[in-house]
Symmetry: C2
Subunit: 398 residues, 2 copies
């Protein structure tokens, strides 16, 4: 597979005309590069009638670094595969795909530019009353219908095979589960946090629990995951919600997706303690965040319970007491993976704006310390936190 | 792939001459069919110098049933792949492969006819002092070097993909984890055991635990397993031990192999209570069996610990406290899967000679009831049995 990057607008426009009938043939098209992740080239192409689409192209390397850091282009196949499967079950939660071309490593898809990035919405204290239910329902549906409960076990195994994503999983095995738990050169640590980080690196109980979570991340293939479901991968309006960037998708433990998502709400919670605004505004929004976390889990677990009771293909997994155990296990995994995501977003290589937007390093360190405290509680005490209400209580008490 | 069964000796001999230089060209060869499993055709071919080899051919159906029950021939690729990987790490534990031919679905391999089937050896109360260590060491080595601890995680994922065995796994998902736990038409139950079986089918706690074990069987891919490691798949002499029949191999939870093996020693233990012989002979052999189970676990866990400490490629899985947790988890899985295997061998579709050789149905029922009692204890109480000594104590107390 040889790679040719679109080197000017005309090439992009020619490609679209040749491969899609989205625009009328005489449309006057304008292109703009809007790449904001680290890995890919992303463009918006518009006509003068207000119609637009998105072009995503994956180079055989990491975009922000260049050819010096090669990265499999298979990530676009993975993303396309996951988008397609999600479209079958939850069409409203993903952009529409117009064209996929593995030779040129290009996807043409719906422009969701009317939606806003959820991380920014949270930083700006936007309340979205439908969000928890939209995300909970999406996660439960996809989890169920890509696991051995919702599809035949032979189909599940075919999905596991087709969704293998070893290179991108390997990145996460390192940056989630190793770097932040030792003095790794890739880490990026606020100097005021150094002492706290050093204590963390010496905590063998914490490291054992992270290893337990990592073991499951590496070998459990129960359901197709988004694989990187932070709030930067979610776009929303007051009544709609879209999930993008599925290139880290793979069949893994379901609690990884719910955990990463939950963690990003909690990272915002920690940020809110020191982001600008009155104390009342911040406290009010923190309360909304904890309620949203609880509502998300409620929506997710209720929908999943419903599906397990009504659409389970495997009679031996229909035992009510098993399903109760299963949800409890999933909740504990969720808390554990949330703790790992919070740790890596605080002292690892990839920080989040929810904390980084706090300009004063001392104030930022306060929020960062809160994040590490919550993370540690989630990882080490996850088996003692019974439900989302108790979780909220324990976070408030820190 | 069209299938042509060897329909006479000459075809078999021609095939061997064409594909192997094992025999001298002027050798006078004699063939005999020795198929004794359910699935495949197996032949021994000998010359008049005492040299011999084994021919295994897999038809696209179950041999004992015929074309009416199709079965993937991919099982021979799976077996060959596992034999090859085992040869790399534990050459002494598998027959040597002389030739593999996926088009004709044929393997030519070493004749291990000087070894005896372990199930028969146990029924005849043979003591094999080296056996526990040979099997424990084999299991630990293969488990380690096919998991994300002993090989790179990307290589592990390639192995998972290459070792997928959906059709044969599906058979085990049903006959291990479902049939024996409900009133399934495939079950085969001693009428004197019917009441006991009915109680078992009403035991929701037991069924929950079986579902937990099944969930892991279906989705955990941590290591390459033999997949059907009962004592009929092991052949031994006083100083050597060979493992065959790897067509059920797949990447699954390591405790499944250790559990199935342990179960088959315990099934023999139950059989010994009512097989012919003096009380002293039987008691003496039962004691040897429990010692062997303990020695097998000791050998397995010590070898695995050693490898985890000295050859672990993943520093985040090197934490001593994690490794201790991991072995404990593996022990509990082993007990759980052992309980499932004992149940299915007692009331499911595939019985074992250790129990079936007891001619009197009432005496057989006694041994079968003991088997179900031990099985239930292993499944439900596995988290409370700390080690192999405590296991032996609890079994003796039943």
């Amino acid at each position: 597979m040889s790679f040719t990057k679109f080197s000017n607008s005309q090439q992009l426009i020619d490609y679209i005309s040749k491969n899609s009938s989205f625009f009328s043939t005489d449309a006057d098209l304008v292109t703009e590069e809007i790449s904001d992740g680290n890995l890919n080239y992303v463009y918006r192409v518009k006509d003068n009638q207000g119609q637009s689409l998105i072009v995503k192209q994956t180079p055989p390397y990491i975009r922000v670094i260049g050819e010096g850091w090669p990265l499999t282009q298979d990530r676009l196949r993975i993303e396309h595969n996951s988008l397609k499967l999600t479209t079958e079950r939850c069409p409203e939660i993903v952009p529409e795909i117009y064209h996929y071309d593995s030779d040129s490593s290009v996807i043409l898809m719906q422009d969701i530019g009317d939606h806003h990035n959820l991380r920014e919405l949270l930083i700006n204290r936007t309340k979205l009353p439908l969000l928890a239910d939209q995300l909970g329902s999406f996660l439960a549906t996809m989890k169920f219908y890509t696991s051995g409960m919702g599809i035949e076990s032979t189909d599940h195994k075919a999905l596991v095979k087709n969704s293998q994503n070893p290179e991108l999983c390997k990145i996460h095995e390192e940056v989630f589960f190793w770097d932040p738990f030792c003095d790794h050169e890739r880490n990026d640590i606020n100097p005021l946090l150094r002492e706290t980080a050093e204590k963390l690196w010496a905590d063998n109980e914490l490291k054992r629990e992270v290893a337990i979570l990592k073991r499951r991340y590496m070998s459990d293939t129960e359901a197709l995951l988004h694989g990187d479901l932070h709030t930067g991968s979610v776009f929303a309006t007051s009544d709609s919600c879209k999930v993008i960037d599925m290139e880290f998708a793979f069949c893994g433990p379901a609690g990884f997706d719910t955990g990463v998502l939950l963690a990003n709400f909690l990272l915002n919670y920690c940020g809110q303690a020191n982001l600008p605004g009155s104390e009342e505004q911040r406290a009010d929004y923190q309360a909304w965040l904890l309620n949203t976390v609880a509502a998300l889990w409620q929506s997710f677990s209720q929908k999943l319970s419903q599906l397990m009771q009504s659409h389970n293909l495997d009679p031996s997994l229909s035992n009510a007491s098993y399903q109760q155990w299963y949800l409890q296990q999933l909740w504990q995994d969720t808390l554990g993976y949330a703790g790992v995501e919070m740790t890596r977003r605080t002292i690892g290589i990839a920080h989040v704006a929810d904390l980084m937007n706090i300009e004063d390093p001392a104030h930022r360190a306060e929020s960062e310390k809160l994040s590490l405290k919550i993370a540690q509680m989630l990882i080490v005490n996850r088996r003692e936190i019974n439900d989302s209400l108790q979780l909220a209580e324990q976070i408030r008490a820190l």
